[in-house]
Amino acid sequence: MSTATLHSETHAHGHEEATGWKKYIWSLDHKIIGLQYLFTSLAFLFIGGGMALLLRWQLAYPSTQVMPSGDVGNPLSLSFINPQFYNALFTMHATVMVFLVVMPLLIGAFGNYLIPLKIGAGDMAFPLINELSYWVYLLSGVIMLAGFFVAGGAAAGGWTSYAPLSSVAAYNGTKMGQTLWAAGIFINGLASIMGAFNYITTVVNMRAPGMGFFRIPLTVWALFITAFLLLLAVPVLSAAGAMLILDLNFGTSFFNPAKGGQPLLWQHLFWFFGHPEVYILILPAMGMASDVLSIFSRKPIFGYKAMVFAMFAIGFLGFIVWGHHMFVSGMNLVLSAAFGVSTMVIAVPSAIKTFNWLGTIWGGSIRFTTAMLNALAFVAMFVIGGFSGIFMASTPVNIFVHHTYFIVAHFHYVLFGGSIFAIFASIYTWYPKMFGRMLDETLGKIHFVLTFVFFNLCFFPMHNVGLAGMMRRIADPTAYEHLRALQPINQFITLAAIGLGFSQLIFLWNFFRSLKHGAPAGNNPWEATTLEWTVASPPGHGNFAVTPTVYRGAYDYSVPGHPRDFIMQNEPPTSESIHGGATARRSVPTG
């Protein structure tokens, strides 16, 4: 790892550019690390998506089917999906999507790529730790998926891995798989923690001259706040994972009541991480979608400071709502009241953000690029996911809809409808910067329309089957008399899921084809204002030949009297167009 030890005086960021294939293995450049995260997590996205299709197939055509007539099986069913494998599939689908896809895409890929570029820094504060975090993340993914190849199969206790099912081998039958799951979670947590303090240090210390905190683009604000959530929440999960490994393999009983342990301890530890995690998975998406909406509406973000404060509020409140996942475990009334109120209150900053997004497109001059369409879909789907969340926040209703497909619909509206649409918006926006070429807009729009339509056909009816009483995590709904009538809807959902899955191949084709054949992007194809668009696409090693000086906020679009409808952040003020956007507080750059 020779590059790690080189400290060139000419490079302010402390390392030199690796070349050739080595670039993709040992490079300490935040941009390459971002791309490593991007490619790896997209690969995991397709693995996790494949698992989802198998799950859907089993629900539509169960191999376990036992009908009153005695008919067993269905000509369309896949016999290799037995109940244990089904349980392993949904456990690993969620684990992969949360820990190996959405988190690394938002935070690893875009966080790495965009933070230094957007604040005018040459690299992250700790490039070596940055690269280490990627390799540790990859290792955690390999360990988790290795569970499929060990005796007993992968962990099958749900991504929440409630003890004592997860912690006692005799109950789960997947001692090895569950141990690998916990080890993967622990190691994945290390990657998150390394990334988090790196981002915080970078944003605090390495902003370009003039880049006051209230001139930072919302993408960076969102990632900055998310980094604090990671730093505070992830260690708790890592600790829980370590305790789980001890319980499974070394005879402790933290969670097994038969030997004096407490199953609710796991739930508290898991959800103390798990609820901030929900916001870890959506805050960066909110930040990036905000920027995309602003760029393509040709308007400043509506209520920039309100947006920042709303994210602070979400970040803080996110730590005091975890109990709403445990209403059904028999919670003390005072506690359930407190968690119920805090859960309702956390909806307020989300509402504020939604209104400000509407304010941003109001009066705009909207350019309907694929990126913009995805960002608009993000807002709409997030609204639906937010509304279905209100049902869960109300304790009595929560009792009824808990663990039904209603909640499956809810979190897919937030995680796919929210985060994944925002990720698509971001890929379409920043791909030209990353690779110097444009994605094909026609293919992009076809991809968007198909994804949007199939997404809703797939996930909206899940609200209905959930209300109709269908439980989640059951390998065969036809085992229940009262659910058999729902089977046509389940088959319909499965068809939509297949459509949704296959639509992504268009994206894949567009993504790889455009690497070579896309139209050249130029420095600033979207006519955006932030610093990453002032440099070449892709930016060279070290990002900025000269450290930029920032004179204004990140959103000077359509300033009256200015010849263009955007003013770059590093454009010095002229007499008629002084628009700081916010206070012109200077920070002292140290990068």
Partner: protein, 288 residues
């Protein structure tokens, strides 16, 4: 509203050639698209809150989407028309922060009030006590005999052989009888449940009862009670992932007139010689 929600999608699906077969439809007495019928006393309140939230979110959703679509159409890029330069409006921020705070707090307080009422209402003295102890993958059920009292139970005494954790010295338990996976509740009579688990976490879930309760091993839940107001056949489902056989951990649950219940209980009552606690024999619950 209910008509709209329940019938239109069904019609659409039927047109798509996914008609629901008659053989399947007879089991459900309500639409497959909506809440199953409610048969318990507390269910009315839960359904009411559900509809309050549905109307509230539905109206807001229509409003938000209307505004969004209007903006998208009206403010599409047009040659020669530039965007408004605005960084926001503090009055609007105050309004759209204040109104949601008010609505969400009201919802939280109202929902919590209802929940507290439900939970604090102590079961009437004549409530029928029934113990249900989950295990991988079935339900141990214990009913009181003629004395109307179950033996004393404690979570600490729950073992493989003694799934209910009963105190065998307690004379109240002598006439108790047990079933495996079969529950019968008398209609219009309060039933007090004692819920627990032998191994992992299970959950007692009956959608028509609007009832879900986790059964965490190591404790006996004694606060759940209900009153079924209609007779019928239902399925009790475990709704907390409990392992390989989770998907078929269901039980038979009937709500019957009091007289029918008494006849059933009489038939189940233990013979005098077998009055001691007997361990239940797990039955493979495949099919029906």
């Amino acid at each position: 509203m209910r008509f709209l929600f329940s019938r239109v999608p069904l019609l659409a699906l039927t047109l798509l050639g996914l008609a629901i077969s008659g053989a399947q439809a007879e089991i459900r007495q309500t639409s497959v698209w909506w809440l199953p019928r409610n048969v318990t006393m507390f269910g009315h309140e839960i359904d009411f809150i559900f509809y309050v939230i549905l109307v509230l979110t539905g109206v807001t959703a229509v409003a938000v989407f209307s505004v969004m679509i209007y903006f998208i159409v009206k403010y599409r890029a047009k040659p020669g028309v530039s965007a408004v330069h605005s960084h926001g409006n503090n009055t609007l921020e105050v309004i759209w922060t204040g109104i949601p705070v008010f609505i969400f707090l009201a919802l939280a307080i109202y929902g919590n009030e209802q929940w507290t009422q439900m939970r604090l209402k102590t079961p009437p003295a004549d409530a029928l006590p029934v113990a249900v102890i989950g295990e991988q993958f079935g339900w141990n059920v214990r009913y009181p005999g003629a004395d109307g009292k179950l033996a004393k139970m404690s979570a600490a005494s729950v073992t493989k052989e003694n799934p209910f954790g009963v105190d065998s010295a307690d004379p109240a338990g002598l006439d108790d009888f047990t079933t495996y996976g079969e529950l019968v509740f008398p209609v219009d009579r309060p039933v007090r449940l004692y819920l627990g688990s032998k191994d992992v976490i299970h959950a007692f879930y009956v959608p028509e009862f609007r009832l879900y309760q986790d059964m965490v091993p190591g404790r006996i839940y004694d606060f759940v009670w209900l009153k079924a107001e209609q007779t019928g056949q239902f399925q009790l489902a475990c709704n907390q992932l409990c392992g390989q056989g989770h998907y078929k951990m269901f039980g038979k649950l009937s709500v019957v007139p009091q007289s029918e219940y008494e006849a059933w209980a009489k038939g189940k009552a233990p013979q005098p010689t077998a009055a001691k606690e007997t361990s239940t024999v797990p039955v493979v619950m495949a099919g029906r």
